[in-house]
């Protein structure tokens, strides 16, 4: 944790400076009257370049699994025995940093993305969308079936009452590459929702609106902001008449965003007693620098935890790297030398050193998961802790990766943490028949979040939630 400073009511009420959204002004209103229990939250967590299933999961390799690379350890202490039962299982080496949270986890085995042989961006997009995505001839993400991602669907259903519908955060991404490999969330119709990896900008939009004045000043400020927003709508009205149909649609989307912001001026977001703004390093941190990934990641996790704790939003995604790693090297991590994507492919040469590096890298990311879960558990609220009221989905775009057979699409690492307000029974290892598609997991998460749907993504990939997932 990087230096946390509590935000007092007084600080919050000092109000008028930057930022638009009046976050904390309304936050001072009495706690929402209509809900006796804390809301449920969803966080999606993405890391890149797949995993080593032998070291991620407690699995018994099957005939259709890729062969282990030459020289690779497939038994012994690193590879625990298959689970004895749903609740009697050991965490394998990559997941072991989560030992203290074992009771909060559901380890999911044998879930596939439909199809094989996707490029990195395709499987990454597929994960929360539940459909095959393809590029169109111009290289744009288009698809034979563009559609919304799970987090955005949840935001649409349960994000209405919070100041921010959803957060898309990232860590040192390269969102601008040819295939939008730095994007994991997609709005209606598949519109890319690029993550924000500038921690200062995230901070400003969440907690920055805290310079001062009294109640009357704040009311005036809100009124003036409303008049600026109104002027956008009026100006657009004057412009619309002169535009063609396509331009009008474009402007309409802009206006929808403006109306949404205007509506949220009155959002009854209500922090609990634990609502504190996370600290930022005093010296400006270079958020574009590879070597700063560990501290940037922690800051983004802190932002998410506090945005949840303050009920500024209930839906978030955190993209730890571009699909394919975006050129990252884990320079801070001993024994992981080399560019990540290259490291993950080293197994192609039957290189057990590459295997070991990939295990260490994966384990490091699960240490970060542990940090996040610790922080969520430290927030007490109605019905237990923030972690109890949340569901975190931890995943990567490939299964037993890139190690043995490039871009392997089966046995994707899917891990859940948190009880989503009691709708998920944790402390379990759930193994599914080989070839089970992951769409049922997306449906299950939606159900756990209180969103009653039967299918998500392409209905051809399955109906209903994964069996045994929900209480």
């Amino acid at each position: 944790m990087i230096d946390t400073k509590p935000v007092s009511r007084r600080t919050l009420l000092r109000g008028a400076g930057v930022g638009v959204a009046l976050p904390m002004l309304e936050a001072m209103r009495p706690r929402r009257a209509h809900a006796a229990t804390a809301p449920r939250r969803f966080l999606g967590w993405f890391t890149s370049n797949g995993t080593i299933s032998y070291a991620w999961n407690c699995l018994d390799p099957g005939a259709d699994d890729p062969p282990a690379p030459v020289g690779m350890v497939t038994a012994g202490p690193a590879v625990p025995p298959p689970p004895k039962s749903e609740t009697d299982f050991k965490l394998s080496r990559i997941l072991r940093p989560l030992e203290a949270h074992k009771k909060d986890l559901i380890v999911l085995q044998n879930l596939d993305l439909s199809g094989k042989g996707y490029a990195h961006y395709e499987s990454t997009v597929h994960q929360l969308v539940g459909r095959r995505f393809r590029l169109d001839a111009t290289g744009a993400i288009k698809n034979n079936a563009a559609s919304i991602s799970l987090d955005q669907e949840l935001a649409r259903r349960i994000g209405k009452d919070t100041r921010i519908a959803s957060l898309q955060l990232g860590v040192n991404l390269k969102p601008n590459d040819k295939y939008n490999q730095g994007c994991w969330s997609f709005g209606d119709g598949g519109q890319p929702m690029l993550p924000q990896d500038n921690v200062y900008e995230v901070y400003r939009s969440l907690f920055g609106d805290v310079a001062g004045g009294d109640r009357a000043t704040l009311d005036r400020l809100r009124g003036l902001r409303r008049s600026v927003l109104d002027s956008v709508l009026e100006n657009a009205g004057l412009l619309q008449a002169r535009l063609g149909a396509a331009d009008r649609r474009k402007l309409d989307q802009h206006l929808t965003s403006i109306r949404e912001i205007e509506r949220r001026l009155d959002a009854p977001s209500a922090p609990g007693g634990r609502c504190t703004a996370p600290g930022l390093p005093g010296d400006m941190l270079d958020w574009k620098k590879n070597d700063n990934v560990p501290v940037l990641g922690k800051l983004q996790m802190d932002m998410i935890v506090m945005a949840f704790a303050c009920d500024l939003t209930r839906v978030a995604t955190l993209m730890w790297a571009n699909a394919g790693g975006g050129g990252r090297s884990h320079t801070w991590l001993p024994g992981s030398a080399g560019e990540w994507h290259g490291v993950s492919h080293q197994g192609d040469k039957g290189d057990s050193a590459g295997w070991e590096k990939q295990v260490r890298i994966n384990a490091w990311y699960h240490e970060q998961v542990a940090y996040l879960l610790d922080r969520m558990q430290a927030v007490q609220e109605d019905g237990g802790t923030l972690l109890d009221n949340s569901v975190v989905l931890v995943t990567s775009e490939y299964g037993n990766g890139v190690m043995t057979d490039s871009h392997y699409h089966a046995r994707i690492p899917f891990l859940l943490a948190g009880r989503a307000g009691g709708t998920l029974r944790t402390g379990r290892h759930l193994s599914y028949p080989k070839g089970t598609l992951h769409n049922g997991l997306l449906v299950g998460i939606a159900r756990a979040m209180g969103v009653a749907i039967d299918t998500f993504g392409d209905p051809a990939y399955g109906t209903g939630p994964l069996p045994r997932l929900l209480v």
Binding site: E201, L224, S231, E234, D247, Q253, S406
Partner: protein, 490 residues
């Protein structure tokens, strides 16, 4: 209707308010389509982006120097002064005069803030409203008449954002005010003036960077074991060589396609000359240096290009061939089918081989051959350049056969090595069309539809008539129907 990109927003704010803080650098990045960040199809404003635009407007309004912006003393200003401010700054911000209704929208914001606040409060909120107005953020194409011809103000904006990536300057606005931008000779004169200015250098360089994906160079990663010579210093020098070369091709050779692909010179310093093993200047400054045309001529034979198109520890003829197919011939190569291994064939130390031998499987397996015959035979012609662009005659002790072959083009046939590919490409009508297509994408900020075919054919004719010189072509482009009519058509 295009919205300002991040770069255009920053430049426009600097020119409009004299604030050089580059506020849009913290916005979500512009999406790339075909390598270009200005495609209007990706510019719908999401809620997060709307928040960022509002936040930037607040910050800028409070930072603005009112004394320079309002036509009276801010300490004693009244509503008449506010009106004058709206008319004057509004015209610069909207790049045309405001209608009475548009003035009133802003005046309403002024009055709301003035009530219970100061004149300065009123002006700052008015400025906020100006900076989030769609009229400021977007560049609507407005017609002067029923034929769909753009009015002078729309032409002024088009010229200015094309060549300078910012709002029109006073001279352009004066030309629009005087109605002169309906005359082709005046438009060409203005375009020439803009192009002759140093302010055009960066936007023109941006075109080449994005078309040729040269900005990916900063993500290049090389294996230190395979290429110990590849240092940060070398990488920086190579990239400067490439940038300087492109700059020279555009500004000294009028953007000639032939020069881009075949010029028998480059820009080197002592370190680069020694890296290439060719004679060159002393010192660290880059200087124009003749090259051995049998080995090096044009963009595709430069170290930076060879480096950019290679994986960390070897060459990959597929990537090089794919680049030529996609960026220069504008042909799409489909991705590998599902269920194939896409791992590169590695050299086996026991059995020395050349890339041509290792990649032979691509032509042996019918499933692969269909697409790879479009790429590999082009890429293999570059095998004399290793993964960081050094010349080599052999690989693993075996002689390199750099014979290449073009198929499915208008210049089909075999050729001996990369230096022989350049002239073929420069003479190809498909390359000619491809260059024009990319200027279309960049210049108009959109992906052409079938309805644009006719216009593209006409532009290709014009490009051909200039001897395929981009700089001269741009002066033709600005008086084409594509440039002067709403939607590009009469």
């Amino acid at each position: 209707m295009r919205r300002h990109t991040i770069v255009e927003y920053n430049n426009t704010i600097a020119d409009l308010l004299g604030i050089a803080s580059r506020p849009a650098d913290s916005f979500l990045p512009d999406a790339k389509i075909d390598g270009f960040t200005n495609n209007e199809g990706t510019q719908a404003v999401t809620e997060v982006q709307a928040q960022q635009l509002l936040g930037a407007a607040e910050t800028l309004a409070s930072a603005a120097n009112l004394a320079k912006l309002v036509p009276c003393d801010p300490a004693t200003g009244d509503e008449a002064c506010a009106r004058a401010f709206i008319v004057q700054l509004g015209k610069r911000a909207y790049r045309r005069s405001l209608s009475a209704d548009e003035q009133n929208v802003l005046l309403k914001v002024y009055r709301a803030a003035r009530t219970g606040g100061s004149f300065a409060d009123g002006i700052r909120y008015t400025l906020q409203a100006l900076l989030v107005a769609p009229q400021f953020l977007y560049r609507p194409e407005t017609a002067a008449d029923a034929t769909g011809r753009l009015d002078g103000y729309a032409v002024a904006s088009r010229l200015s954002y094309l060549f300078w990536a910012t709002m029109p300057d006073d001279a352009l606005m004066a030309a629009a005010d005087a109605g002169r931008l309906s005359r082709p000779e005046e438009i060409v004169a203005q375009a020439r003036r803009l192009l002759d200015s140093d302010r055009a250098r960066t936007p023109i360089a941006t075109f080449f960077q994005q078309w040729l994906h040269l900005d990916d160079f900063e993500h290049v990663d090389k294996d230190a074991k395979a290429f110990p010579q590849y240092t940060k210093t070398l990488a920086t020098a190579m990239k400067r060589e490439l940038d300087t070369f492109i700059d020279a091709v555009f500004w000294q050779e009028a953007g000639s396609t032939d020069a881009l692909l075949n010029a028998p010179y480059s820009f080197r310093n002592a370190a680069l000359a020694s890296f290439y093993g060719e004679p060159g200047p002393a010192g660290t400054d880059l200087q124009k240096t003749p090259t051995d045309p049998a080995r090096r001529a044009g963009l595709l034979t430069q170290g930076a290009w060879a480096t950019l198109t290679s994986p960390p520890d070897m060459t990959n003829p597929v990537r090089r061939g794919k680049f030529v197919r996609e960026a220069l011939l504008c042909q799409d190569v489909p991705p590998p089918p599902p269920d194939v291994k896409v791992a590169l064939p590695k050299a086996d130390p026991q059995k020395p081989s050349t890339a041509r031998e290792r990649f032979a499987q691509h032509s042996a397996v019918p499933l692969c051959a269909g697409c790879h015959r479009l790429m590999d035979p082009i890429g293999l012609a570059f095998e004399n350049y290793d993964g960081i662009g050094r010349w080599r005659d052999g690989e693993n002790g075996k002689a390199i056969d750099a014979t290449g072959e073009l198929i499915a083009t208008d210049k089909d046939g075999t050729f001996a090595g990369a230096a022989a590919l350049g002239p073929r490409l420069a003479a190809s009508d498909q390359v000619r069309s491809c260059v024009v297509l990319n200027w279309f994408r960049y210049g108009f900020g959109r992906t052409p539809t079938p309805a644009d075919d006719c216009m593209l054919r006409a532009l290709e004719q014009r490009f051909g008539a200039t001897g395929r010189k981009a700089r001269d072509f741009l002066l033709e482009l600005v008086v084409s129907d594509a440039f002067l009519y709403v939607g590009g058509q009469r």
